[in-house]
Symmetry: C2
Subunit: 303 residues, 2 copies
């Protein structure tokens, strides 16, 4: 892709990110979508950069969507570690895009699959979706990939903490990064113990690998495990199942995003004042709000 | 409260957690609601326990809502650190409740303010809402409190990582726990630097404190800062503003939760198959879905 193509793609993604409907964004569906998630500081950007380098060596075109929780306080100033990916900035076979959540991950949950489809249609072979894998919503976004890498590192909160954050269920590959640090083997051991408790009836037992992404150590093994997982996905029919689930999640997110936009445009402050004063029940207020947003007869049901 | 009262309260909260509408749950609104958030491993449960002890000494009744990202993989097995709060288990002036998100934080965002109102109505003086402060949704839940404590610890991801997770904006008090560890002062310094960039036009500049919660060190100072913040909240009118915002968030969450329940009960799989096959556009599918869920004429707007 030339730089004019890159700019056109960037503009298209800006429209997707803004929640706009983009025509003809249907990709052929043959890009491999890799989710990469992990706590802050485990080395996600470094690993992404190392994966890009490997895939580029193999002649693959790589798109990256880096999901950053937006921070009105810090702006983009702290995205410095994106700089580590700058080595690929002049490579036209690489496209890197930071997507900001602007305080509402629901919108991003809808925009991300659309952005994946845009990159797929633009001919990228591999699409990496990188999220901070600590919040449920962020994990959910990564979990929509074909293959999910959970990145851990010694000293950044151990495996038990990872489990508490709910990311153990979503990983196809667990990579313990910074494997030259003293506690790396302990993290591997903890992981093994926890994964042994799992139920892998669907036929894929998550792999545990170690790496030193900064030195590209172990990255070839990560790629090999991804290839193995890709083969299994196709052979088992799991790929179709995951892509169906991704489409379901996208449709629901688009629908709810649309409702949210209309609800938030309605007058909630007046209702909130009554709820805060104790003179109106929240459920009744919610029903009123839905009515005001153009959804009449929207009794708020006990779920 | 006797143990039969405790059981009745637990039952009431189970209904709230299940999304049921609970009558007469309007509290007098005079409980102090404290949000406590921080990354996994910083010592949130230990700090909560230390705060409980202090408030109990002062004769206050304390309710705790601990928001756990649910983990279908691990079940409740990893909630072992809740055990640290067990010292208060037989104290009838203390009520501790773990609320599981069951994979959908939106539901919890609606249930938490309702649960706060239930505890308020039950006569608790202080209500602590503890969340894993790493994901946007989790942070949002804690941010609905009157006063928000952001807990940090050396070695658990530094202040910059905290900023990336978007929690710097939400803190009224920043407490660096495990202050006996070598890097504690560096965390304080980083925090100071970052908070200096902030814009505190509303009149409260966040306090930075240090503590060793395990030894109850610095906990009195945290309580004093909370008292100071409570005075400012009332004097400045910020308390009313925050409670209005809380009511707004609750109404929107209840409304969207209701829509989500109806949308998810509709047939999304058939639509998803068409979207996955590229024969239906996600926005058109979303409009169809809203129609099927009983929201006719729900054109999916470009947001």
């Amino acid at each position: 892709m030339g730089s004019s193509g890159t700019r056109a793609l960037a503009r298209l993604l800006s429209r997707v990110e803004a929640g706009e409907h983009v025509e003809d964004a249907a990709g052929p569906g043959d890009a491999r979508v890799i989710g990469l998630t992990g706590a802050p500081g485990v080395g996600k950007s470094t690993m992404t950069s190392a994966l890009i380098a490997r895939y580029r060596e193999a002649g693959q075109r790589v798109g990256v969507l880096a999901i950053d929780p937006s921070s009105p306080f810090t702006g983009g100033a702290l995205l410095g570690d994106r700089i580590r990916m700058q080595e690929h900035a002049t490579d036209e076979g690489v496209f890197i895009r930071s997507m900001a959540s602007r305080g509402h991950l629901g919108g991003l949950a809808a925009a991300t699959p659309r952005a994946v489809r845009v990159l797929d249609a633009a001919g990228f072979d591999v699409i990496i979706v990188e999220t901070v894998g600590v919040g449920q919503a962020e994990v959910d976004i990564a979990a929509q990939a074909d293959s999910v890498i959970v990145l851990l590192a010694p000293g950044m909160g151990d495996a038990i903490q990872a489990a508490k954050a709910g990311i153990l269920e979503t990983g196809d590959l667990f990579v313990v990064n910074k494997a030259d640090k003293p506690d790396a083997q302990a993290v591997v051991r903890d992981l093994r113990g926890m994964l042994a408790l799992g139920n892998w009836d669907n036929g894929w037992k998550p792999r545990i690998l170690t790496a030193i992404a900064q030195q590209a150590d172990g990255v070839a093994e990560v790629i090999a495990a991804l290839d193995e997982h890709a083969e299994w996905l196709t052979a088992s029919g799991e790929l179709d199942r995951r892509r169906l689930a991704r489409a379901e999640a996208e449709i629901v997110a688009v629908a709810l995003g649309s409702v949210r936009a209309r609800v938030c445009a309605a007058d909630v402050t007046g209702l909130a004042a009554k709820v805060a004063a104790g003179t109106l029940d929240p459920a009744a207020a919610a029903a009123d709000l839905l009515g005001a947003a153009g959804f009449p007869d929207s009794t708020v049901l006990d779920e």
